[in-house]
């Protein structure tokens, strides 16, 4: 039993952090949206109805397309053993970890701006990994005997797939679809870059209303609508998650993979090569065009309005370091509280600390913009951007460290206490060394999240706090091929730094990425 005083001491910082940076701005948004805007006005706006409709159908279309196009690769890597399978599984994750601005710029580099297809293609590119991991994870463990039994009862291969395989995989497919739908429903950077003025999701519209048109009540009302939608989606998803496949049909992964033969071997080869090539093209074109158009040289040259593009790199790196430090300290305090089971605070924290993860980045940025002028005008300080990044990153630190902290048997901490260790020293000598590696992984996530964060930063970046993603976005908005080349080059740099950070982190990671 950890003394209540120690738990409250650890809880103070996360409570203050979440309370001031998350809950308080949320309340300000609610107040603004409810007090200054009639719901009738909102519905009367034809544009808003169009935006809502577009948000919905593009998310549905992106989800359907992603499931369809990811299916062959998912089938190949989960059912068959072939040279390069592990590599294929690792490579497919790369698009998922790329910042949205990089993905948007890559598709812009293909010459696909201002079109629905560009948006859908970018969404598929980004989310193939979700399907391969979520559905493939279950498919790889589906016992072949179940399918073979159906075959011996006279079912053709297609009927086996339709009547046995598909129904068993259903929970995983629905889970993957929900995640992809949520991601694409709240898509911001990609749509902002590729959609031009014609196509706008609710996220993008919040940004337009607040930053371009300065209609804050309208932006607030849209944020509220977005929160309601996202919360509903998450609730449905959580419900679904409880139902998983019957353990009866699951077998150890290694036993279900076969060597493909004959025509199957060809199908496997085509699935893998075609999908990976399609995923390879956008980043490859980005890098090629950045170099061919002289983008890298441009990074060192002053742009009349934006200044030297390369200056965004040290800004981003120092913000990422600061955000990571804050996120790790706050996240570890929160993990300490959550892992002390039995206290009511632990249950509350378990939910509250995850909220920023389920909130759209744009809402967080918007909230900072309208709320953080009290009690001091935090918006005028350089701390604003790192704090926003830390807020988004805290859930990653918590998720990385809580399982390990929970794995420490209570009697181990009690033994330390009986040997004279105060609660602080128990944390320092027992918890900290045991979760150090996991905390490092959490820190890595926080770092990567901060580097790529765009939704919140777009709202709150000032001329002296322009991060790499914001600089890329602004370069894309400036006229001239030179600026476009510079944007591509900077996107290449950001993609490379992110990939490097992920690879370094991967070496420290003992556990899997887990669920998204």
């Amino acid at each position: 039993m950890t003394p209540r005083r120690a738990i409250w001491a650890a809880a103070a910082l996360p409570l203050l952090f979440i309370g001031y940076l998350f809950l308080y701005p949320l309340i300000r948004i609610l107040w603004l949206g409810i007090s200054e805007l009639e719901l009738a006005d909102l519905l009367a706006e034809r544009r808003i109805a169009r935006v809502a409709w577009f948000t919905l159908w593009q998310a549905a279309a992106s989800t359907g397309l992603t499931l369809l196009l990811a299916a062959p690769l998912t089938w190949a890597v989960s059912r068959y053993e072939f040279p390069g399978r592990r590599l294929a599984q690792a490579l497919v994750i790369v698009p998922f970890v790329l910042p949205t601005v990089v993905v948007g710029t890559a598709f812009a580099a293909l010459g696909w701006r201002d079109s629905v297809w560009a948006i859908l293609a970018a969404h598929v590119f980004y989310n193939v990994a979700v399907v391969v991991r979520t559905v493939g994870g279950m498919w790889a463990r589906l016992d072949r005997k179940v399918e073979e039994a159906a075959a011996t009862l006279g079912a053709s291969p297609w009927r086996v797939f339709r009547t046995v395989t598909l129904p068993i995989l259903r929970p995983a497919i629905i889970a993957a679809a929900s995640i992809v739908f949520l991601f694409t429903f709240t898509s911001f950077g990609t749509v902002l870059i590729l959609g031009g003025f014609r196509y706008s999701t609710i996220e993008v519209e919040i940004y337009r209303q607040a930053v371009t048109l300065f209609d804050l009540p309208m932006a607030a009302a849209l944020s509220i609508g977005q929160m309601v939608a996202v919360t509903t989606l998450l609730a449905v998803y959580a419900r679904r998650q409880e139902r998983t496949a019957s353990p009866l049909v699951l077998a150890p992964e290694a036993s279900t993979r076969r060597r493909p033969e004959g025509r199957t071997a060809w199908a496997v080869a085509v699935s893998v090569v075609a999908t990976l090539t399609a995923l390879f093209v956008p980043p490859a074109v980005l890098v090629y065009r950045a170099a061919a158009d002289g983008g890298f040289r441009r990074l060192f040259v002053d742009e009349p309005v934006l200044g030297r593009p390369l200056d965004a790199v040290p800004t981003s790196l120092s913000f990422a370091v600061a955000a990571t430090a804050v996120a790790v300290v706050v996240g570890m305090c929160a993990a300490y509280v959550i892992s002390r089971r039995g206290s009511r605070l632990s249950q509350v924290f378990d939910v509250v600390l995850m909220l920023p993860l389920g909130t759209s980045a744009v809402t967080i940025g918007f909230g900072f913009l309208i709320a953080l002028d009290w009690p001091i005008d935090l918006r005028a300080t350089v701390a604003l951007v790192p704090l926003a990044h830390a807020l988004v990153a805290v859930p990653f630190v918590v998720r990385a460290t809580v399982p390990l902290m929970r794995s420490i048997h209570p009697s181990v901490r009690e033994a330390a206490a009986m040997l004279g260790a105060s609660p602080g020293r128990v944390f320092r000598y027992i918890d900290l060394p045991i979760v150090a590696r996991a905390a490092l992984v959490g820190a890595g996530f926080a770092f990567v999240v901060s580097l790529g964060e765009f939704g919140a930063t777009a709202f709150i970046a000032r001329p002296n706090t322009v991060t790499i993603p914001v600089m890329i976005f602004r370069l894309l908005g400036r006229p001239g091929l030179g600026n476009f080349a510079a944007a591509m080059a900077l996107a290449t740099v950001l993609g490379a730094v992110t990939a490097a950070a992920i690879m370094i982190m991967d070496r420290f990671r003992s556990t899997d990425l887990g669920t998204f």
């Binding site: 039993m1 009690e414 033994a415 009986m418 040997l419 004279g420 020293r425 000598y429 060394p433 045991i434």
Partner: protein
């Protein structure tokens, strides 16, 4: 001297310990004996400060320990399952309590060597704890408990997880060690023979209450009620 005065510990509706009183004199070894679920481990944890008292007092040399957190009681506690620190070597485990007291490195080193020698694990300093045998783990836990020289040693089913032959050997070693050092000790067990061998006096516990205290022979000769007679055979 330890005084347990009418202590009650509650878990929700259940009174795990119900008005238990007990005295342990300096250098005395007392066993708390009872069937599983009788509250004996909870009583031990309450004395350690690991459970909140609903009622009653715990005193050391007449001083009430209410408000003294576990880490300031200078009591040693050996846990069921040992609770060794998985990320530390044998030597680091044993040294932990000494480090918490702020002893200097040379002193810690010689004390660790001495205590490990007592438990028959001389030279085990650098071994990791996860590839020790059950008996070795038990000895490390004992060494770790004794190293900081606590004023009271509490042992919670310290031999529970071991096989019969090993238990018979270790109870002799452990009793011998504590007797030679003149350590005040409380020993929780459900095993009559262990209790009889280890302790000067035995406290019998049932449903949270201490039903009888005395030397084992006395309890056998004059059981307080039918249940005691039955339990002791």
């Amino acid at each position: 001297m330890l005084t347990v005065d009418a202590v009650t510990v509650r878990f929700g509706e259940l009174r795990a310990v119900d008005g238990a009183s007990l005295e342990v004199g300096d250098g005395e070894r007392v066993a708390i004996l009872g069937p599983s679920g009788s509250g004996k481990s909870t009583l031990l944890r309450a004395i350690a400060g690991l459970e909140k008292l609903e009622n009653g007092r715990i005193l050391w040399d007449g001083v009430d320990l209410a408000g003294v957190p576990p880490h300031e009681r200078r009591f040693g506690f050996m846990f069921q399952g040992y609770a060794l620190f998985p990320h530390m070597t044998v030597g680091e485990n044993v040294a932990f309590g000494l480090r918490m007291q702020g002893r200097d490195a040379a002193e810690i080193r010689s004390r660790v060597a001495q205590v490990l020698e007592w438990v028959g694990l001389a030279g085990f300093d650098h071994r990791t704890v996860d590839n020790l045998s059950g008996g070795e783990q038990q000895r490390v836990a004992l060494a770790r408990t004794l190293a900081p020289d606590p004023r009271l040693v509490m042992l919670d089913e310290p031999l529970g997880a071991l096989d019969r032959a090993l238990r018979e050997r270790l109870i002799v070693e452990m009793t011998d060690l504590l007797a030679r050092a003149g350590t005040t000790a409380l020993y929780v067990t459900h095993d009559h023979d262990e209790a009889a061998f280890f302790a000067h006096r035995v406290a019998l516990m049932r449903q949270g209450r201490i039903v009888q205290i005395g030397k084992m022979e006395e309890l056998r000769r004059n059981p307080a009620d039918d249940w005691v007679a039955d339990f002791l055979g």
